[in-house]
Every structure is written in structure tokens, then in C-alpha cells.
């Protein structure tokens, strides 16, 4: 392994090493502050390391990992999101009785697994990244192990994610048995005119597994339960990093295999996208639990992303990426507020918990409102530019049917986003006001930065668009 390869892998290496360091640290001395500091520090170092990796890319590391602009961009995104989650987690954990320090080990591991997924160029690294991510998430999702909901969520996620891993693995095995290679690229070269049945079945099974991780219809049933049971920052992580990494993989996979030319595949993804948009939004409609509501909304958002994915061409990649960035910021903000307002053993998850928030905690309310507007795709937020970008990509590829469904879904979604907005701006309930925890610095910083980014991207997206435009050239 050359030094350049090491340099290229540096972000992943730093993240992985950090998890080991934190583990050792915990063994030596339990200190939440210290562990938190090391975690944040190492994530910052890993982010900085991307700068050095850029100089040597594109670099294929042993055919397993491909460190190109695309991968680095997603790794950067994953690291930044993990950093935000870490910041949001501090106060959340601080107010709780559980052991806090192991949380950061799992978080760093999950981030490492996600990074591997983003850079994966073969089924092996796909599998490894996926499992590192998944197994860490089992722990994270069930982190509120004192509460029945935490355990319930953990068990559900464990069983279902395990099963879905089984699907992916079996699919990979079938493809391998037919094609004789574990490289995406090799497969692309070998595919010829069409696949045989076994490969098709294998491919379909991989789609099932990926679909599960992305929580698209019909593999979405677990989403609300896990989102609800998991600690709010973990929910943010599951909603953003875990999905984003999987989407990065899907995008690379799609483009490398040029799946656009298979009508059946496009059709399947189209149907999945349409169903996700409709079902996600309709399920969210009357939901009173904010975490579940956001879970349903995330189902719909992945549907939107799939529309962009199906749009093909350079616009697809940049629109998916832009949307993911906007989606990351927005969801981190939204779940961040949920975590920020959760106190002790109580998650602020009922819609009534937010009643009158605007008059009690105006800044937090502002952040949440901005996130909700962004989710709804209202102008001057990142979500608007993202949705605009996606619709543009779809329109460029004439996916009118999907776009109409997207429009219908969006209109439905306004109902529940604005239902929450409405609650935020209602008169506070004079009698029983839910107590909110005191403000935390780290969380406050994270929320402010996220909100500023949200608005900045909504007002002046030109620089990011430029950046993404350069990125696609690396992938295609």
C-alpha cells in the first residue's frame, strides 16, 4: 500500500482509529467531557484530512475502496453530519443516567462504516461498510436501554436489519456465483446485453436490502418505530448518515452499472419512488408523534431522491447530492431540536410538547421552523433549492408522471409540516407546560450553524452548485 493510498484513506483511517482511541480512553478513565472532546477533535481532524486526500485522488485502494471526488464529498458530508450529531448528543446524554462514553465509540464506528460505504467499489467493501454501520447502529438505537421503547426499537432494528443484510448477502452471493467477480466495475464490464436470471434475482435481493436501509416502500414499516424508540440524536444519525451513505453507494452502483438502460430496473425504482412519496406523506398526515412524523417524512424524501436518481445524467448526481446535503442539514436541525428539548427520561416527541414553543424558546422555535420549512421546500431554505434541483433534474429527463406524484406528495406533506409549525406558534398551554431542559452550548452551536447553513444554501446556492458540478465529472 503506497503512501498516497494511505493519504487517500486518511479520513477513514482517522475515524476508525478514533474509535479505538476512545475505547481505550474509556477503559482508562470515564469522563464524558473528555470522550466528547476527543470525538469532536478526531472528527475535525478527519474532516481536515479530506483536504490532504483531495491532492491524491482519484485513487483506487486495492480495488475495494475508490477514493474519488465523489467519495470524498460524501465522506466529508458524513463526517460533518456525525460531528453535528456528536454536538447534539452531548447535552442529551448529559441529562441521562446511562453510561455515556460508549456512545461515542459506536458513533465513530458507525461513521467509519458509512465512509466505507461511500467509497465502496466492490461487494466486499459494500458488505463490510454496511455491517460496521449496522452493528454499531444496533447498539445506538437501543441506547436508551432502560426504557421499554429503546429496547423495542433495538430489537426490531436488530432483527430486521439482520434479515435485510441476509438479503443483500444472498444477492451478492448469487451475483458472484454467476459473474465470478465482486467488483462493481468488473460486473459492469461483463454485463453484455442482459443479465441471466440468477444475477437478476441477486440484483433484486440487493435492491431489497438497500431499500430497507433507505426505508422506502414497501420496506418502510420499521422506520417510525425505530425513529421513535431511538435517542433523538441517533434518530438524526439514522435518518441522515445511514441513509446518505447508502444512497452514495446506490448512486455509484447505478452509474457504474449504467442501470438506466434496463427498463425493468428503472420501472421498479420508479414504482418504489412513487409509492414512497405517496405512502410516506399520507402516513405522516395525522401523526401526532413528531419523531414518527419525521420518520414518515423521511420516507417521502427518499422517494424524492429516487426521482432525481432516475433522472440520469450529470444533473442527477448533482441534484441527488445537493438534495442530500439539504436533507442532512434539515433533518439534523429538526431532530436536533427534538433532542435539544428532550429532558431526562422524556423525549419531546408529542406535538403538544411543541405548543407555544415560539413564545417560550424563540430561537429554538426559529431553528425548528426553518427546518420544517426546508422540509416542505419553502424558498430561502436549502430544502427549496434541493427540491427545485430535483424537479429540474426530473423535468430535464421528462419524468412527468413522477414529478406530478412528487407535487401531489409535497402538497400533502405541507399539511403535517405546517401542523407542527402551527403548534409551535400557538398560544402556550397555560396549565400544563412541558418543562424544557436548560440550554446547552454545544447543541446551541450545532443548531445555529445548521440553521445558518440552511438559509445560506437557500439564498445563495451558487458556490455549492459549482462544487457539485465539478464532482460529477469524477464519477462519470
Amino acid at each position: 500500500m503506497s503512501s498516497e493510498q494511505i493519504l487517500a484513506l486518511l479520513p477513514i483511517l482517522v475515524t476508525s482509529a478514533a474509535s479505538v482511541v476512545v475505547m481505550l480512553l474509556v477503559a482508562l478513565k470515564r469522563s464524558h467531557g473528555l470522550v466528547f472532546g476527543v470525538t469532536v477533535g478526531s472528527l475535525l481532524v478527519a474532516l481536515a484530512a479530506i483536504g490532504s486526500s483531495v491532492s491524491v485522488m482519484p485513487q483506487a485502494v486495492s480495488s475495494l475502496l475508490i477514493m474519488d471526488r465523489f467519495a470524498l464529498l460524501y465522506i466529508g458530508l458524513i463526517l460533518a453530519a456525525t460531528l453535528a450529531v456528536a454536538l447534539l448528543s452531548y447535552a442529551y446524554l448529559e441529562s441521562r443516567a446511562e453510561r455515556r462514553e460508549e456512545y461515542y465509540i459506536l458513533l465513530l464506528l458507525a461513521a467509519a462504516g458509512s465512509e466505507v460505504l461511500a467509497a465502496a467499489g466492490s461487494y466486499v467493501s459494500f458488505f463490510l461498510g454496511l455491517e460496521i454501520l449496522s452493528i454499531s447502529l444496533y447498539g445506538l438505537v437501543a441506547y436508551r436501554r432502560q426504557t421499554p421503547l429503546g429496547i423495542e426499537a433495538g430489537v426490531k432494528y436488530l432483527i430486521l436489519a439482520g434479515a435485510s443484510s441476509g438479503f443483500i448477502l444472498f444477492g451478492m452471493a448469487l451475483i458472484y456465483a454467476e459473474q465470478g467477480s465482486l467488483q462493481f466495475a468488473a460486473l459492469a464490464a461483463a454485463k453484455g446485453s442482459s443479465f441471466d436470471v440468477v444475477s437478476l434475482v441477486g440484483f433484486a435481493l440487493i435492491v431489497v436490502g438497500v431499500g430497507f436501509k433507505l426505508a422506502v416502500v414497501p420496506f418502510h414499516l420499521w422506520t417510525p418505530d425505530v425513529y421513535q424508540g431511538a435517542p433523538a440524536p441517533v434518530t438524526a444519525f439514522v435518518a441522515t448518515v445511514s441513509k446518505g451513505a447508502m444512497f452514495a453507494l446506490l448512486l455509484r452502483y447505478f452509474i457504474q452499472l449504467d442501470l438506466y438502460q434496463y427498463g425493468a430496473v428503472v420501472l421498479v425504482f420508479g414504482i418504489i419512488a412513487a409509492l414512497s412519496i405517496l405512502a410516506g406523506n399520507i402516513l405522516g398526515l395525522l401523526q401526532n408523534n413528531v419523531k414518527r412524523m419525521l420518520a414518515y417524512s423521511s420516507i417521502a424524501h427518499v422517494g424524492y431522491l429516487l426521482v432525481a436518481l432516475l433522472a440520469s445524467g450529470p444533473l442527477a448526481v448533482s441534484s441527488v447530492t445537493f438534495y442530500l446535503i439539504a436533507y442532512f442539514i434539515t433533518n439534523l436541525g429538526a431532530f436536533g431540536v427534538v433532542g435539544y428539548l428532550s429532558s431526562g427520561e422524556r423525549e419531546a416527541e408529542e406535538i403538544d410538547d411543541y405548543r407555544g414553543l415560539a413564545w417560550r424558546r424563540p430561537w429554538v422555535a426559529g431553528a425548528l421552523t426553518a427546518s420544517l420549512l426546508s422540509l416542505a421546500g419553502i424558498p430561502l431554505t436549502a430544502g427549496f433549492i434541493g427540491k427545485f434541483f430535483i424537479i429540474a433534474a426530473g423535468a430535464g429527463s421528462r419524468l412527468w408522471a413522477l414529478l406530478i406524484i412528487l407535487v401531489v406528495g409535497s402538497v400533502v406533506s405541507f399539511f403535517y409540516y405546517f401542523r407542527l409549525v402551527l403548534a409551535i406558534f400557538r398560544e402556550p398551554d397555560a396549565g400544563a407546560q412541558v418543562p424544557y431542559p436548560s440550554a446547552s452550548l454545544a447543541g446551541g452551536i450545532a443548531l445555529s450553524v445548521l440553521t445558518l447553513l440552511l438559509v445560506w444554501l437557500g439564498v445563495y446556492p451558487a458556490p455549492l452548485v459549482n462544487l457539485l458540478g465539478g464532482m460529477t465529472s469524477g464519477l462519470l
Binding site: Y123, L128, P148, E152, V155, L158, A163, G166, F170, A177
Partner: protein, 102 residues
């Protein structure tokens, strides 16, 4: 030694996979569900080994080893969780853990 077509092996692994899957669907005891997932994973492992044998590569076996490691990790986390579950719910029935819905 007689050479069997690879398809036979794949069919076998598919049957194994299906058994595992069916087990996940029907079993209520969460430990059995976990066991069934292991069966699914091993079915995949078998298919990998078959593939490796077919193409004369080590990759299949390597993957199988990865799968074993991963399965072990999953089971360990899983069992820990199941202990918590039993501690909390005094039951291993998956139907008991259905508080969140709707």
C-alpha cells in the same frame, strides 16, 4: 468425484435461505428469530463458497469468513439486547414488544 452443476448448490442455498426467511416470519420467540437470521446468513455463505469453487477463487471463502465474523458480532449484540428485553418484558415473545405503532 462427480461434478454437480453449480445450480444444484445454489438451489440448496436458496432453500436454506427460504427456510431461514420463513423462520423469521413465523417464529415468535426472538431467540429463534435470531437463529433463523443466522440460517439466512449461512445460506448466503454457502452460495459464496459455491461461487468461489466455481470460479476457482478464494474470494468466496473470504466472504464466508467475513460473514462468520459479522454473524458473531450480530449475535453478541443481539443476545445482549435480548437479555435486556427479557429483563424488562419478562418475555421473549416478539409480539410483546409492539408498543410503538400507528
Amino acid at each position: 468425484m462427480r461434478q454437480y452443476p453449480i445450480d444444484y448448490g445454489l438451489v440448496l442455498s436458496a432453500v436454506l435461505f427460504a427456510i431461514g426467511m420463513a423462520g423469521v416470519f413465523v417464529r415468535r420467540n426472538v431467540i429463534f428469530v435470531l437463529l433463523c437470521i443466522e440460517i439466512m446468513l449461512n445460506a448466503a455463505g454457502l452460495a459464496f463458497v459455491l461461487g468461489g469453487a466455481r470460479w476457482g477463487q478464494a474470494d468466496g471463502q473470504v466472504m464466508f469468513i467475513f460473514i462468520l465474523a459479522m454473524a458473531a458480532a450480530e449475535v453478541s449484540v443481539g443476545l445482549a439486547l435480548i437479555m435486556r428485553m427479557f429483563h424488562r418484558f419478562k418475555s421473549l415473545d416478539t409480539n410483546e414488544i409492539a408498543r410503538m405503532k400507528g
